[in-house]
């Protein structure tokens, strides 16, 4: 999983590490308010499933790493879906500086496909949307990253 200065591979821990750094640069102005949420991201491809833990911790976001399973994490809700849908979303963000049309986080998860948000219960699922703008900001921060190439 090597990268050049102009490229970053997706999905990798390096990608999410860089995404968190990028998001935190602008989140520190606190205009969106704080967010407290431990979110799992599950990316499914024909050959593998990759899982990552993102910790929205007040006015900053932490990347808690790649995990084999969410079982022993404190993840409150998991976003899951095919790698292609995630990749298309990030491509759209890089092309337009932000997610547009049906590539926003809410739009992708609205009907439960192509991405689905699954909380421990409905209150946990709803909690994700209490921070919809912060999550969108986090994802949109990919526009400041090197070009994303599919793994």
């Amino acid at each position: 999983m090597t990268t050049t200065e102009t490229e970053v591979k997706f999905p990798t821990a390096e990608f999410f590490d860089k995404l968190v750094v990028s998001a935190n640069k602008t989140l520190s102005d606190k205009t969106l308010g704080f967010a407290i949420l431990k979110l799992g991201i599950e990316i499914v491809s024909p050959n593998s499933i990759n899982r990552y833990v993102i910790d929205f911790d007040g006015y900053e976001i932490n990347f808690d790493g790649q995990v084999e399973s969410f079982d022993n994490t404190e993840v409150e809700a998991v976003v899951t879906g095919p790698q292609l849908s995630y990749f298309d979303m990030f491509k759209d963000i890089q092309q337009n500086s932000m997610a547009t049309g049906s590539n926003t986080f809410n739009a992708l998860t609205m009907a439960g496909f192509p991405l689905n948000v699954q909380g421990q219960d409905q209150v946990a699922t709803d909690k994700v949307f209490r921070f919809a703008e912060t999550i969108q900001h986090f994802l949109d921060s990919a526009h400041q990253m090197p070009t994303i190439v599919e793994q």
């Binding site: 969106l32 308010g33 704080f34 407290i36 911790d57 007040g58 006015y59 932000m98 547009t100 049906s102 926003t104 809410n106 739009a107 609205m110 009907a111 439960g112 219960d121 409905q122 209150v123 699922t125 709803d126 909690k127 949307f129 209490r130 921070f131 919809a132 703008e133 969108q136």
Partner: protein, 358 residues
Amino acid sequence: MTNTAINFEYIERAKRGEFDLGWLKDNKSEWGTKPTISKIGLTLRDISYGSYGDVPDNPKLRTMAPRGSDIDPDVPDMGYTVNTKMEVWSDNLLDLYEEAVSRQWSATRDIPWNQLPELPSDIEHSICQLATLLSEVEMVAADFPAKWLWRINHDFVEAKMFLCTQVMDEARHTEVFRKRALANGGGLGKAKAVVEQFLKLILDAQSYDEGSALMHLLGEGIVLSIFRAGEFLSPSDVEKRIFRLCMQDEARHVAYGTMHLKYRLERDPSIAEDFHAYLDKGEELMTVLFTTPEVIEPMAILAAGGIKQAEEVGVFAADILRQRIVEEYLARCDKAGLPRRKRINLPAEMLTGIATDD
């Protein structure tokens, strides 16, 4: 009877430097205790330490005196009628209040109004009709808490503070949708009697229990799903931002409503049937809302991308949305400990794809 006469003798003594200082000597507070400040600042949870954090289930007084203060024995009765903690409390209240205050936004400043594109007439009409509906329904979620706020015992001040944030949130939602209807050459659409009937049901609720179940759980749950759908169907990034910001606020209100009902039922399961009866009534009107053209058609047209295409795919999109609304509502009822899957008061054709076993 509280003595409100001016104490001239005290004024003379104070002039001579003979202070009373009773307030200093008699203080029973937890002097010397300090909270641990959280990473995000000093929160309500941080200061809920010792006796200050004890919220009585049945406060003896009906006063505005801050909970935990040394209270005069002759304080007047404020006439509160909601004097049982379980009537208003929820375990997530303190956090939701902090979140609400932190995540406030401005419909004037934070929406990029000057980026609104000119839209085809049918799309502009649809978004204006949706904005009309939302501007109409959102204010009841300010009116209802406002109607009950002054009746709630001040010992439950955190609940009152949270409801104040809701009043502000809903004022902003009413504002932002009114602004959207008027911002792009369209205008306000139709206001329907059936919608007003639902709002009246909430406003006329005989108890906070009834109104909260109808509003926080049922009504705002529906609106949260409409906000999510609105973001998905938005014709431009301007509406997308409006709906995203609104959905955050609405999800907080629904989180309160669900967890409040859970708190209530855990402490008094005997009233479950009352809540079932409130929701039976609410769901009846929900059925009518789902068959009201002014509610369904704008979203069908937005989903299809135009009135012509809506004839083919719009109804399908509306079905998906309705299914989502009902499923999420039933899941919230499950979480609250009020399973309604077997009891839900909707016609069978509106329950396609919904799990109706508890």
